[in-house]
């Protein structure tokens, strides 16, 4: 029953395109260009990779880099969870009930087009410079994207499978878990992917404008000191955290939930 295709590793030089090698080479190339650029510029406005790594090490051991990363990560996770839960619920309802969709659709378009900065400023002005306002503002920026994605998911549900579930008298919970949720999985995956990256960028703005800690606060502080080494150090550390989440959490989860597809992911 299976069909054998020409194996890609049979081609010469194919090892380059397989496994992690191409990614590793790509990162190494970037570091080399950065190193050369810093050597040529010889400016404190463009520190080399070694100086930035040194800063990260010093701040981790003697400074509070880990604390600042932790507090930012907690804000990212809190906003993400709030945005996904509320956005999914609204999106599913809008996708399945045209009447609700007609009522909420204009507001969705307004929210989609409202600049993140406006929402953040208004949240701080109205609710004070506190944690709830910060997380709420970030979540509110992300909710419309989740709604739009999950609304598409709800509209694309297979009516044939729905009929099957009803004919076999599946309980509402069993139907949700076995029929509806797996169909929405790609939409959840898409919303989370774009969600995490959008949210952490907005979290930094929120921290910069009205929080006494976190990566965004540190960036603001070091911007005033013109300390580019610190700015790059904090940025790279947090990018590393987000990469770890992507490779150690998001991708394995996605592989697990799409294992039924008859092809490697």
């Amino acid at each position: 029953m299976s069909v054998t295709f020409a194996r890609p590793e049979a081609r010469r030089g194919a090892w380059l395109t397989r496994g992690p090698w191409s990614s590793i080479l790509s990162v190494a190339g970037f570091l080399l260009i950065w190193f050369l650029g810093a050597e040529i510029a010889q400016s404190r406005l463009l520190p080399g990779p070694a100086a930035v790594l040194d800063y990260i090490y010093e701040e981790t051991v003697h400074g509070d880099l880990l604390f600042q990363l932790g507090i930012t990560l907690w804000r990212v996770i809190a906003s993400f969870v709030v945005a996904m839960v509320i956005g999914s619920a609204i999106g599913l309802i809008m996708g399945q009930m045209p009447a609700v969709n007609r009522v909420l659709d204009p507001w969705l378009i307004v929210l989609l087009n409202l600049p993140a900065l406006v929402i953040i400023i208004l949240a701080y002005v109205w609710f004070g410079l506190n944690e709830a306002a910060a997380i709420g503002a970030v979540a509110l920026n992300k909710i419309p994207n989740v709604v739009v994605t999950l609304r598409e998911g709800a509209r694309a549900l297979d009516p044939g499978l729905d009929e099957m579930a009803r004919a076999y008298r599946m309980s509402p919970w069993s139907k949700f878990r076995n029929v509806t949720l797996p169909q929405l999985q790609p939409y959840f995956a898409a919303a989370s992917r774009s969600g995490l990256s959008l949210i952490w960028k907005i979290v930094l703005v929120v921290e910069l404008l009205g929080r006494p800690n976190g990566v965004g606060f540190e960036l603001h502080l070091n911007f005033q000191l013109f300390n580019v080494t610190a700015i790059l150090g904090y940025t790279l550390s947090f990018v590393a955290v987000m990469l770890a989440i992507e490779y150690l959490l998001v991708q394995p989860l996605e592989r697990y939930s799409t294992r039924w597809r008859n092809k490697p992911v």
């Binding site: 029953m1 009929e163 009803r166 004919a167 076999y168 008298r169 008859n262």
Partner: protein, 250 residues
């Protein structure tokens, strides 16, 4: 608009549909069924035969209570369990064959029952596969096993062997008869294939084109297993003579 009555313990199924009208997106009304009345004999195979588009699938959906927009009544026991084989297998692609069956199986359906049923329909060694790894013929076998795993009081089969090559379809018809004879179940099967209808039916119900209603009910007394090709041809010739509208060109 309609009234679904439950007849208690008699496991009697009767269908009375005064009218079923589809209303299109542009407001046009299309009457699919008018004055259709049918009693299903317990533990027998009732086959509905009619031209394509005459409302057979609509009728099955009404009987399965998937559609309540009609006038008339469907009588069936209150807690009747249903097995439904659709035109497409409609398996959950993200669940294994075993999970697909277990999800809807009757509460007392055991691992042993699953093995026996798997053997009977020839999917015993595919229980841990996912549906996308199966051919259409195999997926249909799984759908057949799933329909029987519910230990149904009423089995609904909507052109279950359509778009298979004749050899595969014939093998599946034999499988259906095997499983069905082992557990005689009140069954309503829809087809537009005359020879399939003659092979399987205890009661052969001939339907008119839209708006559909019953033209005639033919009873075939010979047990399904004793119907050989010669006999099926003879019955076919006879029916073709008496109901040319239903049997010519099919």
């Amino acid at each position: 608009m309609n009234d679904i009555q439950h007849a208690g313990v008699t496991s009697q199924f009767s269908i009375r549909i005064e009218e079923k009208t589809h209303i299109g997106a542009d407001g046009t009304r299309l009457t699919a069924i008018r004055d259709l009345s049918l009693d299903l004999k317990p533990e027998s195979m009732t086959v509905l035969m009619g031209p394509s588009g005459c409302g057979k699938t609509t009728l099955l959906r009404i009987v399965a209570q998937l559609d309540d927009q009609f006038s008339g009544e469907i009588e069936m026991p209150a807690d009747a369990r249903l097995g439904f084989m659709f035109q497409e297998p409609r398996l959950l692609p993200w669940r294994t064959v075993r999970q697909n069956i277990d999800l809807v199986a009757a509460p007392d359906f055991s691992e042993k029952d699953l093995e026996r049923l798997g053997d009977a329909v020839g999917i015993a060694d595919m229980l841990s596969r996912y549906p996308l790894e199966l051919s259409l013929g195999l997926a249909r076998r799984v759908a057949l096993a799933r329909a029987f795993a519910t230990e149904p009081d009423l089995l609904l089969l909507d052109e279950p062997f359509v778009s298979l090559d004749e050899k595969t379809a014939d093998r599946l018809r034999r499988l259906l008869l095997d499983v069905w004879s082992a557990r005689p179940t009140t069954t309503l099967l829809v087809t537009h294939n005359a020879r399939e209808a003659i092979l399987l039916a205890d009661q052969l119900v001939l339907l008119a084109p839209r708006p559909t209603h019953v033209v005639a009910v033919e009873t075939i007394d010979v047990p399904q297993r004793e119907r050989d090709p010669k006999m099926i041809e003879a019955l076919h010739t006879d029916l073709l003579k008496r109901f040319p509208a239903n049997f010519s060109g099919l």
